[in-house]
């Protein structure tokens, strides 16, 4: 059984894999990945053909970037009528982590 540090590290890695991209992460990724994510965000969802059409890049290059984004957990792929489509997977906005009694006090005041 691993130590506390290992378990925390594992939890952080798992969380990063499943939680998707936050809007703040957009500022930290490379410009070429950000360009693709932004484009899909603005369109809602896109196919490989549509993405290639918008970018001045070879389909194999675009596919490589899409695979990178999927591996990071930032994109999800699904099928519509036999065509693969890509959609940005945005992380859930977390609640504010403040002492519980603050919310209890507020709840009792405002219902």
């Amino acid at each position: 059984m691993g130590g506390l540090f290992d378990r925390l590290q594992s939890e952080i890695e798992t969380r990063q894999q499943v939680e998707g991209i936050t809007p703040a992460d957009l500022l930290d990724i490379s410009p070429e990945l950000r360009r693709i994510i932004n484009m899909i965000l603005r369109q809602g969802e896109m196919s490989l053909t549509e993405i290639v059409f918008q970018l001045d890049m070879r389909p194999s290059e675009v596919k490589g970037l899409l695979d990178t984004l999927i591996a990071k957990g930032y994109l999800r792929v699904f099928e519509v009528k036999g065509e693969q489509r890509y959609k940005t997977f945005l992380a859930r906005k977390r609640g504010r982590e403040v002492p519980l009694n603050i919310w209890e006090a507020l709840g009792s005041k405002v219902g």
Partner: protein, 251 residues
């Protein structure tokens, strides 16, 4: 083609919601179908300008984010409430003004992906020409998302040292997020200032077009968000300037 426009400011009190409501009214007067969504979940307010009261809100953006309704069920056609000659339509999606519901969003967070889906669904289901996003001031998750998905970004600022610095940060972020069209609106400029000089200085400082310079207005202060300025004062110089801003931002 439909467009999404975010109206943003780095600091509060710049007149962001007022400007958003006025630009929306002008767009609707041109005959366009306009959606206005209040993503300032922590401190909503734009509903006041459109005369929507808490008891009128059968649903709100909060309900959509909690899965209680579809996004279009949270949209209210406020066109008739404005009592003006409007050829198009305005749909308002308010955020809840109930303190308990604001606290719940802060406590629990929400699905940001659902918010983005909601933006796209609104444009499609309400057949909008323009979706105007009234944001929370500053940079946070919602505002970054709004900026990232926008075709047009208007940043409102006042001639104030704190605004100057914050606006610089916002402009840098928007450039990094490849916003296709970004413009500044300078609001509440003291009457003693030379408006053309202010415009030139700001454009040079940020290397960004200024869509409008709006002088401080006693009429605006007296109206106090009890209505939409361009409808109440159709011949006022500020209305003329805002009309010009609309044609620059959303031609």
């Amino acid at each position: 083609m439909s467009q999404i426009a975010s109206i943003h400011s780095f600091r509060g009190g710049t007149g962001k919601s007022n400007t958003c409501a006025n630009l929306s009214a002008l767009l609707a007067m041109q005959g366009r179908r306009v959606g206005v969504i209040d993503t300032d979940i922590q401190s909503p307010g734009i509903h006041v300008l459109f005369g929507l009261h808490e008891e009128d809100m059968a649903h709100s953006l909060n309900d959509y984010l909690w899965g209680k309704c579809s996004i279009e069920q949270a949209a209210f056609d406020v066109t008739q409430r404005l009592d003006a000659d409007i050829k198009g339509q305005i749909f308002l999606i308010p955020s809840s003004i109930k303190a308990g519901e604001i606290a719940r969003v802060l406590r629990e967070g929400y699905d940001v992906g659902l918010l983005n889906d909601g933006f796209h669904a609104l444009v499609e289901k309400l057949e909008l020409d323009v979706l105007m996003i009234d944001t929370h001031p500053g940079l946070n998750e919602e505002t970054l998302l709004s900026i990232a998905i926008s075709d047009v970004l208007a940043i409102i600022m006042r001639p104030d040292q704190q605004d100057y610095q914050g606006t610089g940060v916002t402009v840098d972020v928007a450039r990094k997020l490849d916003v296709p069209r970004m413009m500044l609106i300078i609001n509440k400029v003291p009457a003693v200032f030379d408006l053309d000089e202010v415009k030139a200085q700001v454009e040079q400082t940020y290397d960004c077009e200024v869509a409008a310079v709006l002088p401080h207005s006693d009429e605006m202060m007296i109206l106090a968000s009890a209505g939409i300025f361009v409808l109440r004062y159709p011949d006022h110089p500020i209305t003329t300037t805002l009309k010009q801003a609309v044609s620059r931002l959303l031609p």
